[in-house]
Structures are given as C-alpha cells and as structure tokens.
C-alpha cells in the first residue's frame, strides 16, 4: 500500500513554511529531500560509530568499515551489478564521469577517435568529454534530438563508426524528463565496438535499473538526487574494464604498496577510491536504498507517473503555456514557458507562493539552444509529491501569469 501521508511524514523539511506558505518542493531534479531514516543514520554515524575506514584495527574503525562495505553491497543489489567490486564510490555523477573521461581516456582514446554524446546532455556529461577531446585531439559527435527533444536514433546509427570509442548518454534527460532509448543505444554501440556510459543521475531515483540487463559498460549516479547525502555518488563499471583502465586519483587507500621506486595500485574497488572516502555519505546512500525499497520501486514509479500525467493535463489547460520535451517516455519532470514571460520572473513569483521550482537552462544550454530558448521553468517530482501540490503549482502559474503580463 502506497500511503502518501505516511511517506511525507518521513521528510522533516516538508513541514517547513516558506514565505508564510506551506513548502511545495518541486525542485527534485536539482536535489531530493531526505527521509528521517537517512538523517538518522548520518546522526548515528557521527554520534556513535564514526571512525576512518579500512585502515584501523579498533572497534569503531571496524564498525565504520562494515557499514561502508555493507552499503556498497546494498547498492550493488539496487542496480543489480554482478559483483561488489564494480561499485565505486565517488563524489557524485560529475566526479564519476570525470573519472571515466580521464581513466578510460588515458587508456583508450587517441588522436582522431570519436566520442558520441546526445544533444540533450547535462553539462556534466558534455564538458568532461570536451576537455578529454582537447587533450587527446579526439572529437565529439552529437546525437541530435528532434523538435520534441527525443533523440533521433537513425541519426545516431549513422554516427557510429570504427572511430567511435565511447557513447555517453543520459538515461533520463534532466531538462525535459525524457527517457532515452538506452537499450537500443547500448546494443548499437556494442555492435559497432564502442563502450557506453549511461548518466543515471535522473533515473535511479525514479526507475528500476538493472545494469546487467542493460549491459552498459558504465553507469553513474548521485546520492543527493536519490534521498541520500550530498558529496557522494556511484560509478558502476564492468569489472574487466575497470581493471584495464588506470587509476584516476592517487593517494591513501588506493595503493597496495608505495615506494619512490615503484608504487602498486590496489585491486578494485579501492583502486578508484583514493583518500578518505566519504564513508558517511556512502552509508547514507545505502540507507536511501533501504528507504526506496521500503516503498517499492514499482509503487514509487506508479505514483510518479501518475503525478506527471496529472501535471501534464493540468498545465496543458493554461493558455500560453508551452511544454518543452514531449514524449510518451518521460519521468518526473515537466519543463515549460509562459508566452512572453521570462522564466526567472515566474520562478520568483512561485517562490513567494512557497513553491520551489527550478528556472534557467538546467545545466543544459545546448538543449535550450535546440529549442531556441534560454531557459525554462521546471517542476520535477519525487515520491513525496501530491496532486494537491500540482494544483497549487497550476494556480501559482496562473497567478504569476496574471501579475506578469
């Protein structure tokens, strides 16, 4: 049974008043709020178990290490990776993509090689590849989107060739909520001999993800967008590949032995976890998975799909409102503009009504350019949002429209 009130009660921040109004938090694409059980585990870590991991022999250190490694296993199950060594903790999605851009790049990218990314990517899945290509004299090729924001697969297939070493695509585009056809993208890339990185930052919190079934080579996501702390994320990579590519950062914990003459790197996953890992963050991520599991991914997906459909219906009724990103395959986000009204002004007025939405280019300037705009208003949903909140949003938009035109 999906009991929304019970779920909402678990999020202390939702009880907040903002500008005298009940908070309506619809900026979940930027970051998701945290349930009590996640806040509690952080508290508990710092009040009872905190100690640096891996290197200690004492009780607290063992305790922290056990919880940390336990969390790794929880996350392995969450995305159904084959073995725990395939789960690398990073600072977040951006960090994970940069890691691959560097390490995969050092090993496999040479002058003239090509990397394919989609036109609708987040900057974090664009800039690291640009930097890599600049360093290696390689090239970025862009998978174009159609006027609705959907990727054009026929064009994608034409772009694939022997020089294509990597395809990096979002599972869900953050600025539109469109779910990309990654199954087909992955299969095609593999046929052509390219590896695939999937940016799951906007997907894992909304959809069931099975990396073995997807057969992607890398899958990355952030804790803070899936009910966990900021400053933590995950890189999943196929074991053989992670073993082949060199480490990214050097430091404590990622080595087997160090001397000035010769340093040997540790085995997976530690090879990619230099320095003191954000173990409290990682543990909070395991707890966030527990939270999601306690609701059930299917229930969560059903609820969020309902919300999206409802929001699409409601907002379509508003005169002069254009939705950007139209597709049957969307999840949990709706991007729009009001005719002749600046998104920033709408955001400001909504804020005054206690409604938090995101405005701007959503770190996806090429997508905005594609639509011929500079930004949108984006409402994005999490498991705790309600239809009533969408009603409030819709009334708020009408009010803003009235004030601003």
């Amino acid at each position: 049974m999906f009991e929304i009130e019970k779920i909402r009660k678990q999020f202390p921040i939702l009880k907040q008043k903002v500008n005298g109004k009940d908070l309506v938090y619809l900026d979940n694409g930027a970051t998701v709020q945290k349930p009590e059980q996640v806040i509690d585990i952080i508290n508990k870590m710092y009040s009872q178990y905190n100690s640096n991991i891996h290197r200690g022999v004492h009780y607290l250190s063992n305790k922290s290490t056990e919880l940390y490694e336990g969390s790794r296993e929880t996350i392995r199950k969450f995305i159904n990776a084959g073995v725990t060594e395939e789960i690398i903790f990073t600072k977040g999605t951006t960090d994970a993509i940069n890691l691959i851009a560097f390490s995969f790049g050092e090993k496999f990218i040479n002058e003239g090689d090509e990397i394919l990314i989609a036109e609708t990517e987040h900057h974090s899945n664009i800039v690291p590849w640009q930097m890599l290509c600049k360093r290696k004299k390689a090239h970025i090729k862009v998978i174009p989107a159609d006027e609705n924001g959907e990727l054009i697969l026929s064009e994608y297939k034409k772009l694939l060739n022997k020089k294509t070493k990597l395809v990096a695509v979002a599972h869900v585009a953050n600025s539109t909520g469109i779910i990309n056809p990654i199954e087909e993208i992955i299969a095609e890339a593999h046929k052509s001999g390219a590896k695939v990185l999937i940016d799951g930052a906007q997907a894992v919190q909304h959809k069931k993800v099975d990396v073995q079934q997807l057969n992607c080579d890398f899958y990355v996501f952030s804790g803070h967008k899936m009910y966990a702390e900021t400053g933590i994320g995950v890189l999943y990579g196929k074991k053989e590949l992670l073993e082949e590519i060199p480490p990214y950062q050097g430091g404590g914990d990622m080595i087997k032995s160090v001397s000035f003459a010769k340093t040997e790197y540790a085995d997976l996953p530690l090879k990619f976890e230099a320095g003191t890992s954000n173990y409290v963050g990682a543990i909070s991520m395991g707890e966030a998975v527990n939270f999601i599991n306690s609701i059930g991914k299917a229930n969560l997906e059903r609820h969020e799909t309902e919300l999206l459909k409802y929001a699409e219906e409601k907002l379509s009724l508003i005169d002069g409102l254009t939705i950007y990103g139209k597709s049957e395959n969307k999840t949990s986000a709706i991007s729009f503009l009001l005719h002749r009204i600046h998104f920033y002004d709408v955001g400001m007025i909504l804020d005054k009504l206690g409604i938090a939405v995101r405005t701007g280019a959503h770190c996806a300037e090429p997508t905005m350019k594609h639509f011929g705009i500079t930004g949108t208003v984006r409402a994005s949903f999490a498991v705790y949002n309600t239809k009533e909140e969408i009603d409030i949003l819709s009334e708020g938009i009408l009010k803003a429209q009235k004030m601003l035109s």
């Binding site: 500008n19 600046h342 998104f343 920033y344 002004d345 955001g347 400001m348 007025i349 804020d351 005054k352 405005t359 701007g360 280019a361 500079t374 930004g375 004030m403 601003l404």
Partner: protein, 141 residues
C-alpha cells in the same frame, strides 16, 4: 536629493504595501517604466550574464555626473534596476562610490540580491560602482 534621501523615499513608498504581492506588482510596474535602453548598446561588453536573467548596463559621464542606462530580459530584475538607477543616475562618481545601499534590504527584496549568480544584479551593482571609480580616475584626477 542625496542617494540616502532617495533610498529613504523608496522605502517610504514601499512601506504602504503590506504584502509581497503588492510589492512585486509595484516592482513590475516600476520595471515597465524604466527608460528604454538603446538596443544598439546591447553589446557583449555591456552584458552581465547571470545564470538566469541577463542584464545590460551602460553609463556616460557628463558635467561631473554619471548617467546610467540598463535593461534586463526579466521584468522583476528590471524593476530593481529601475530603483537602482533612480538612486544613482545623475550622481557624481563620489556619490556612487560612497553609497551604502540599504534600501533593497529594507523594502524586503533582499532575495533579489542573493549570492547566487542567478540574476546578475550583484554584478550589476559592482559594475555600477566600477564605472564610478573609472570615471573618477579618468575625469576627476
């Protein structure tokens, strides 16, 4: 009027509003009355790129005084700009450089001067002061 007096005048005007809606409506109105900005001056060097709204700013120095003109694509930002220009236009470089801008806070629009790069206003204020410093150096020393 001194920049302080103008600021107090604005504070007085806003004091009659007791809710945010009236304030913002007034701000929007003020934005709509901002003297038109010469489209030709929408050059990259006059552009202050916020993450969200864009601001264009230009200034001239005549007879010891600075004449600011500015624009924004967002109307609320434009409203604040209009208020800033009211405080600072036709003032001397020293006036501008030495102003303690207190009115925005006092009229309850502080959220418009957030440390985010969102609307470009913080940079705009910095740039207005920079113009004053530059004019002073160029014409008054």
């Amino acid at each position: 009027m001194t920049t302080e007096q103008i600021q107090n005048e604005i504070i007085d005007e806003f004091s009659v509003f007791d809710d945010w809606m009236d304030k913002y409506e007034y701000l929007i109105e003020t934005g709509n009355t901002l003297a038109p900005y010469n489209e030709k001056n929408k050059t990259p060097s006059n552009l202050i790129q916020g993450c969200q709204s864009r601001v264009w700013l230009d200034a001239e120095y005549k007879d010891g005084k600075i004449y600011f003109t500015a624009d924004s694509d967002a109307i609320i930002t434009k409203g604040i700009i209009a208020l800033l220009i009211r405080v600072w236009s036709e003032k001397t470089p020293d006036d501008v450089m030495n102003t303690d801008l207190f009115f925005i806070d006092k009229i309850g629009l502080r959220e418009n001067l957030s440390p985010t790069r969102a609307n470009g206003l913080v940079s705009m204020i910095k740039n207005m002061k920079a113009y004053a410093t530059a004019f002073k150096a160029k014409y008054e020393s």
